[in-house]
Symmetry: C2
Subunit: 340 residues, 2 copies
């Protein structure tokens, strides 16, 4: 049904439409791509492609534009993974080089990604639940009040005050501190949580209430969802491009992008750093964003993702370039943030 040439025609249409932003006709197609056949033949192929739903015409006697289904086929089977230019690589690494802390890394990543893809970039802060415990600290700020400090591998610091209800001696505190650290340091937060839970039983009965309160505070800090939800957005100016139907629908898109929930849903479940998620047009789970596409991937040092990043742009985007950029930035960020 779809022989090689028809696929080739589809690819040519996608490429031309992406670069010119105008419906592409059979004539200009054969001019720009050495297809080896006449425009009439291409027209026939296009008729088939249209019947199959891969392309459409905005109105009779205009050129064709790819449908979401067409882009999907293009992304899945027709696009080569275009490697980044050396200049682009250099840009990424120098941009991220100077970062001083997690916040800075994320900010710079957003910028880099937005500039590279000329689209809206979204970067999720490293997820607490995926990072590991680096250090736990206990401080008595009053005889019966403790300051609990949690430092994670991603560099985030969280601290809370606990009223333990009974005075705690320095010795008990030191013992508890040591136990907490040996049990949790180096662990993923969820595992650390279970380890800490078991730990309570090993403590002398007299100190058990204290230990249990401290542990539950820590566990609460582990699963603090707010930290998980932090997201940085950049390059929204790229939404506005001259001469674009996308242009009229900028407002809803901007509005959607101010909703944290939307951003998080867009990035989706953190995929493995090796995988790239591409959602095209109607595949994007928001009505307002149905004329946009989302390219996202997880980042992290190991196999599993620390968090997710990606870009949002018009369905008519340069997928190979965008995918390459997203993947490259994710790799660099993963390296930078992975195990500092």
């Amino acid at each position: 049904m779809l022989d090689d040439r028809k696929l080739e025609v589809l690819r040519a249409i996608v490429e031309d439409y992406v670069s010119t932003r105008e419906p592409v006709g059979s004539k200009s197609l054969v001019d720009r791509h050495a297809l080896g056949v006449s425009s009439a033949t291409v027209r026939n192929d296009m008729a088939v492609l249209e019947e199959e739903g891969f392309i459409a015409q905005p109105h009779t006697s205009a050129g064709r534009i790819p449908t979401d289904k067409g882009y999907r086929l293009f992304v899945d089977r027709l696009s080569a993974v275009r490697p980044l230019s050396a200049a682009e690589r250099r840009a990424i690494s120098t941009f991220l080089q100077g970062a001083v802390d997690v916040d800075d890394v994320v900010q710079r990543s957003v910028r880099t990604l937005a500039q590279l893809t000329r689209q809206v970039a979204i970067v999720q802060y490293p997820s607490l639940t995926r990072s590991t415990v680096r250090h736990v600290e206990l401080v008595a700020i009053a005889p019966d009040r403790l300051l609990v400090v949690l430092i994670t591998s991603s560099g985030r610091v969280d601290q809370r005050v606990v009223d333990v209800g009974q005075p705690v001696s320095e010795a008990v505190l030191g013992d508890l501190r040591a136990r907490l650290n040996t049990a949790s340091v180096g662990q993923r937060l969820p595992e650390a949580a279970t380890r800490l839970g078991e730990l309570v039983h090993d403590v002398a009965v007299a100190e058990r209430p204290v230990a249990s309160m401290v542990v539950s505070t820590l566990v609460e800090a582990f699963s603090d969802e707010r930290a998980d939800e932090r997201v940085a957005v950049g390059g929204t100016a790229n939404l506005v491009r001259f001469g674009d139907d996308f242009d009229r629908s900028v407002r809803p898109v901007l509005e959607a992008l101010e909703e944290h929930v939307v951003l998080l849903t867009l990035l989706g479940e953190a995929t493995s750093p090796r995988m790239l998620t591409v959602r095209i047009g109607s595949e994007v789970p928001f009505e307002e964003l149905s004329s946009t596409s989302v390219v996202a991937t997880g980042y992290g040092s190991g196999e599993e993702a620390l968090a997710t990043l990606g870009v949002v742009g018009p369905t008519r985007m340069d997928y190979p370039a965008t995918m390459a950029a997203v993947r490259a930035v994710a790799r660099y960020v993963g390296r930078t943030l992975g195990d500092p």
Copy 2:
């Protein structure tokens, strides 16, 4: 030169132009405002106002629109401070009611302000240098390494590790901790810095190096500029309004608003919570924003400002309403964040 009626005419022009977004002519003016004179008279007045540079015509035989100078006069002398409606007040207070921490307050303020004014809202995080010290904590994480924790009145927590180069006994640590707290708690950060500086001389010679290192770490934390620079932006979707010349220039504005430096400059030196800064069109210190106006004010509990917030919108904005909204939100935020 400018008698009362001419001022009245200017005010009518500003109000009509703001609400209709179309150049306003003499005829429609006399229709909508009971000026008590004929359109011909108004025409004469308008000719004078134009000569003086308060209004201009986009092209011959069109209505007049206010110039920046016209808006300036309007803001300075012609606009009454329109009090907020009860509903608006309620909206603000319920919006800010549920906030759980500083981050949350700021996020909610941005949203509230953006919705209320239908413009782009900017809220600066409470400035470290303007808040006070609530608590200082020292923790030995190794014999010669200390964790220094600083908690400020705005709820921000900052901690750093210091290598003091010599072992520190628990007794010395306790002494130092007590001295640090009595010297600094309740002080503004800059004053606290000087107090701490003096404190070093009172310490026994043997511990002076340690004290000095801890103090300099704290002082560094005080003046950490990054914390000062945090700014939240919201309501960018409001930039896009149908049928608007502003519409074409959205891109540069969006770009400008992604620059932290720009945002901070726009908010300007934190003014007293009682003062409202209005910068109109060309008065805004950025070329790209010369068709926008900025309304900003400081917020805080006392006389002096904790930080600044404001909105950015088209020069053709409803100044009285915007100013009232900015002032009201600032007041609520100041109350919420001032002395929690």
